[in-house]
């Protein structure tokens, strides 16, 4: 818990919505919001002036919450979610739910608003076998009708334009089209037409309705357009494209993009035909005539927008020539060839233009160019939304929302001014590390003095003098700045943090957070304020890749820059590459990483360093050969010396196999152990080792009789969690195996019957805490395991897994927890003196800080004299959630996926980052702030008392002297 005046002092939260799926911008100049529905199952309204979230609704993260369609009508947003099961209407001003109805099952196809006589009153939902009509005002169902021949026909399109009928278009592939017309009033089938179309495979993308219910389809094989009026005709008319002098690009499925500004009137007769990934053509079909209005070469995206009577087409083009994608100096390696095979196009200098064209004529509107430059190389725009409005002088003005490949949202204004941008890829952080900030220039100068070789007494002395002078200069500059700032009003002083003035603070509380997101974008975020200081997009990372981020060199080794290494492995091709960068500035490192020819299975970061103080990274590939990085002679020699102490363990969850490998001198490995866990019965879900940077201060625990119970601190210990494949609530179980990663010896195994995952586990020091669902008692339970060596230590000076004759004693206790949890992590501090807390992320978005002392298997059932002496709390089965233990008060974190903890320079303080849809950063003090004076420490009182005492002593001394003198005179 925090005090009221501490809110926002050490902590910050950033909220995200995720990658856009649907967006809607109001067509008026004064509108303040834009409504978005995203792939993260979020419906939200963004402030169009600042990009802040006005309101946000987060649905389930599973496919159950997926949003299939979003329609906007006036102040209401209609969403269809859960595969067409749920229809909701939102009030867009405040984000309230107007109504919600559940629909019948059946795979969702399309939803559309339906108007009748100039009023939009209904929403139609087309499913595989039925169409239903609902009132917009309350969601009640007006009628539902089954579609004829729904087994063979795939109904995919829905069209109405205020004439009192709804056309439903279905297709039997390579046979014919079926057009069913329903009456809006009662759902009666008024007409049913079959149109032969043996060339047609699917309707979506290929066909669209233009003008007054005219269906236009494009066929790649015959290079022609097919046109058919839904209301009058019964046959498709073929128009060869050669007559318009248009050509398709080879191997590209052409698409048709049409627009219908309002559902109560007809669609525009103009439409876009996409001929190749970068070639669009604006066509018009009017009164049975197809005409070509304008051709757009080198266009990346097109979009329609309407305001009042005017409909415009926005075209996003590259300023320079588009050229086939090249991996602009991004990680070389095998992934590069892959990316060049894709016919992706990048803009050479990342500068794009948006232009507006009047659709009726294809004329370019004057003064409507927006020019913008993307800062990230290789990220191309993916979606374009336009907000058009009429200015006072009746000319057209607009704003554009552009989403790029790296999930960045940009809101642009004429003439190319960036109103705001949002980094939505941060909604899916996959890996995170905290790196110390570098020292300031003056500090670095001092450090550098010690680092260099001595060059004579005088030289050293002069150098020292000069560095002291620099320090003095910096100090006076600081004083002057303070004096200068003090005269200015407080509001004007902004402590802006940018990449140039980054420096470590006294207690190392400020760090650089390096975040890896699922889209392949890397971020460097300053931890005290949450400012994004750098970002880097890795272009050839495909979705679903796995990442592993490692810090090879910290900032402690000035003048060598810090170095982070990211291993990216593609899920499909199994190919991996290394990306080496400087975590402070985000720049790609000069060091060339090894080219990885084989898929990498796992990595190991060794504590040994090369002559440049970079830790050695070992990569084991699928032939069980090891690659070292950096691979200098020095490193290889060191490796040869210590090869017999290096072991790998690999866990193959699919085959249920755990195996250990020993490194040999020639960097090959040999298998030393193997454990099979039969996959028919149970499957491995998690393997947790210990954190390598963890310090344990106390080697044992003091008992009531003042003897010591020594902890069993095996650094090679693994906790393996398995879940049963049988999920019946009577037979389901989870298994916990504690194994030694060097020898494969199973130190402890237990099976928890009638227990079900998902299992969250924390493994630290000599304890393991895991949480599961008890199916018998229907509650969440914690179990804690602690390992002790006993009252004698076997070998106090060195720990070797190969020489451990005695198994440790395992103590175990279970507790009831009143809530499910979504993430769990233990606090960590610099030296491990501070007591540990468990940080538990609850589904409600709160983070509970639970003292580890509450989960202690030595808690006695009946308290005795000795247990009281030890300060053990008597056992009680339930662990309660106290709201004052929430570290994030009301700053809840939606859909929390992980918690990251890092030590700070203060022993009492641990830095915490929780991530999910939102990112939250704070500090925790598990044993209170024992090494820091409190905020409300009364400096004035203490110093005044001190001065007063000194003063009083001086006065009394004087008085005493006078008195002595007087007495001597007497």
């Amino acid at each position: 818990a925090v005090y009221e005046d501490q809110v926002g002092k050490f902590d910050w939260r950033q909220q995200y919505v995720g990658k856009l799926k649907f967006a809607s911008l109001e067509a008026s100049q004064g509108s303040k919001k834009l409504i978005v529905a995203t792939e993260k199952n979020v419906v939200a309204a963004l402030n169009s002036r600042s990009g802040e979230i006005l309101w946000r609704h987060v649905d389930k993260g599973t496919p159950e919450g997926a949003i299939d369609a979003m329609l906007i009508h006036g102040q209401d947003a209609i969403t269809v979610s859960n595969a067409g099961r749920i229809l909701r209407s939102w009030e867009t001003n405040i984000g309230g739910l107007n109504w919600e109805t559940s629909l019948d099952t059946g795979s969702f196809q399309v939803a559309s608003l339906v108007g009748l006589q100039d009023v939009v009153k209904y929403v139609a939902v087309l499913k595989k076998a039925a169409i239903s009509l609902h009132y917009l005002s309350n969601g009640h169902q007006k009628w539902v009708e089954h579609l004829p021949d729904s087994e063979s026909t795939q109904y995919q399109l829905l069209y109405s334009h205020g004439t009192g009928v709804i056309h439903v278009l279905g297709i039997i592939p390579q046979s014919h089209l079926s057009v069913v017309t329903f009456s809006v009033e009662d759902g009666e089938v008024t007409k049913q037409v079959r149109v032969a179309a043996p060339w047609l495979q699917s309707l979506s993308g290929v066909c669209s309705v233009v003008g007054e219910a005219v269906l236009v389809c494009v066929d790649m094989d015959t290079h022609s357009l097919y046109v058919c009026s839904l209301e009058t005709e019964q046959e498709m008319k073929q128009i060869p494209l050669q007559s318009l002098e248009l050509e398709f690009a080879a191997g590209f499925q052409p698409r048709i993009l049409a627009t219908q500004p309002s559902v109560i009137s007809a669609s525009r007769p103009q439409f876009f035909l996409q001929l190749s990934p970068s070639h669009f053509s604006l066509l018009q079909y009017k009164q049975g005539l197809l005409s070509h209005l304008r051709d757009f070469q080198q266009a990346a995206l097109v979009s329609f927008a309407t305001t009042g009577e005017k409909t415009v087409a926005a075209v996003l083009t590259c300023r320079n020539e588009l050229k086939p994608g090249s991996s602009d100096g991004l990680p070389p390696g095998s992934a590069q060839e892959e990316s060049q095979e894709q016919d992706s196009l990048t803009c050479s200098n990342q500068t794009y233009n948006i232009n507006l064209y009047l659709v009726e004529t294809g004329q370019r509107l004057l003064d409507t160019t927006i020019t913008f430059t993307l800062e990230q190389s290789g990220a191309k725009p993916q979606q374009l939304y336009i907000q058009v409005f009429l200015k006072k002088d009746d000319s057209v003005g607009y704003r554009a929302l552009v989403q790029t490949e790296d999930h960045m949202l940009m809101f642009l204004q004429q003439p190319g001014k960036l109103v705001w941008s949002r980094e939505e890829s941060l909604a899916e952080v996959v890996s995170l590390e905290m790196v110390d900030l570098p020292l300031t220039g003056a500090q670095a100068e001092l450090e550098g003095e010690f680092g260099k070789k001595a060059d004579g007494l005088l030289g050293m002395f002069l150098k020292r003098l000069s560095s002291q002078l620099i320090l003095l200069q910096a100090w006076t500059a600081h004083l002057w700045k303070m004096f200068y700032d003090a005269r200015k009003p407080r509001s004007q002083i902004k402590n802006e943090i940018n990449i140039d003035n980054l420096a470590r603070d006294e207690f190392n509380l400020q760090k650089m957070m390096v975040m890896v997101t699922a889209s392949g974008k890397l971020f460097g975020i300053e931890s005290s304020s949450g400012t994004i200081l750098w970002k880097q997009y890795l272009r050839n990372v495909r979705p679903g890749s796995s990442f592993k981020l490692m810090v090879q060199r910290t900032t402690a080794h000035f003048p060598h820059p810090p170095q982070c290494t990211l291993l990216v492995k593609d899920k499909e091709t199994k190919l991996s590459f290394l990306y080496v960068f400087n975590p402070i500035f985000g720049k790609r490192s000069q060091v060339a990483p090894p080219v990885l020819k084989r898929p990498i299975l796992q990595t190991l970061l060794l504590p040994i360093m090369d002559q440049d103080y970079a830790k050695v990274l070992l990569l084991i590939d699928d032939e069980y050969k090891v690659t070292a990085f950096p691979a200098t002679k020095n490193v290889l020699r060191q490796l040869e010396e210590i090869a017999h102490t290096i072991f790998f363990y690999l866990v193959d969850a699919e085959q249920g196999k755990l195996s250990g490998f020993r490194l040999k001198k020639d960097l090959t490995t040999e298998e030393s152990w193997e454990v099979m866990i039969p996959t028919e019965v149970q499957r491995i879900v998690t393997v947790k080792g210990k954190r390598s940077n963890e310090h344990v201060h106390s080697q044992g625990r003091v008992m009531g009789d003042r003897s010591v119970l020594y902890k069993s601190l095996n650094p090679n210990l693994l906790a393996v969690v398995t879940e049963s494949t049988d999920t019946h609530h009577e037979r389901t179980f989870i298994g916990i195996y504690l194994m030694d990663g060097v020898t494969g010896r199973i130190i402890h195994s237990s099976v928890q019957k009638k227990a079900k995952g998902p299992v969250h586990i924390v493994h630290s020091e000599n304890w393991v805490v895991y949480q599961y669902w008890n199916t018998k008692a229907r509650r969440n339970e914690f179990t804690v395991l602690e390992l002790y060596e006993g009252t004698e230590q076997y070998n106090a000076t060195a720990f070797s897994s190969l020489d451990r004759p005695n198994l440790p004693q395992v103590l175990q206790q279970s507790y009831i927890f009143p809530s499910a949890i979504s993430a769990m992590e233990a606090t960590i501090t610099e030296r491990g003196i501070t007591s540990r807390h468990l940080l538990i992320g609850l589904p409600s978005g709160a983070i509970l800080s639970l003292p580890k002392a509450l989960l202690d298997p030595r808690r006695p059932e009946i308290p005795t004299e000795q247990s009281r002496e030890e300060n053990l709390i008597p056992y009680s089965p339930d662990v309660q959630i106290h709201a004052e233990r929430f570290i994030n008060y009301n700053q809840t974190i939606s859909r929390m996926r992980g918690i990251y903890t890092a030590p700070s320079g203060l022993e009492s303080t641990c830095l915490v980052v929780a991530y999910g849809l939102d990112i939250y950063q704070t500090r925790v003090y598990p044993s209170k702030q024992f090494d820091v004076l409190k905020d409300d420490y009364d400096y004035v009182l203490i110093s005044s008392v001190l001065f007063g005492l000194v003063f009083a002593t001086m006065i009394t001394k004087r008085l005493a002297q006078v008195k002595l003198l007087n007495r001597a005179w007497r």
Partner: protein
């Protein structure tokens, strides 16, 4: 001695002060051993008297130490040295995990 017994074995400021005094006085007496011996110079059985003085003060010191022990002030248990045990050195390095 009786006061010592009455003071009990709990650690609080008065018993601690008393134990300190009790230990300090024999020590002080032993320090000034030569001065005492000088005073005894006239005596004929000087050696014996000196020995008795020594033994008496030694007993007093032993009593104070016993009292300290009873109060748990002497670091005689392994737990008293726990904070000084260095963590054992790691002999093997291991790494890996689920196959990426």
């Amino acid at each position: 001695l009786f006061i010592m017994y009455m003071a009990g074995n709990t650690i609080s400021i008065f018993p601690a002060m008393m134990v300190c005094m009790m230990g300090w006085r024999p020590l002080q007496a032993l320090m000034s051993l030569s001065a005492t011996l000088k005073a005894l110079e006239s005596s004929s059985r000087r050696a014996l008297q000196g020995l008795v003085f020594l033994v008496g003060n030694g007993l007093g010191l032993a009593l104070a130490l016993y009292k300290c022990q009873a109060m748990g002030l002497l670091p005689t248990h392994p737990s008293d040295w726990l904070a000084f045990i260095a963590p054992p050195q790691r002999m093997e390095f291991t790494g890996g995990g689920l196959i990426l």
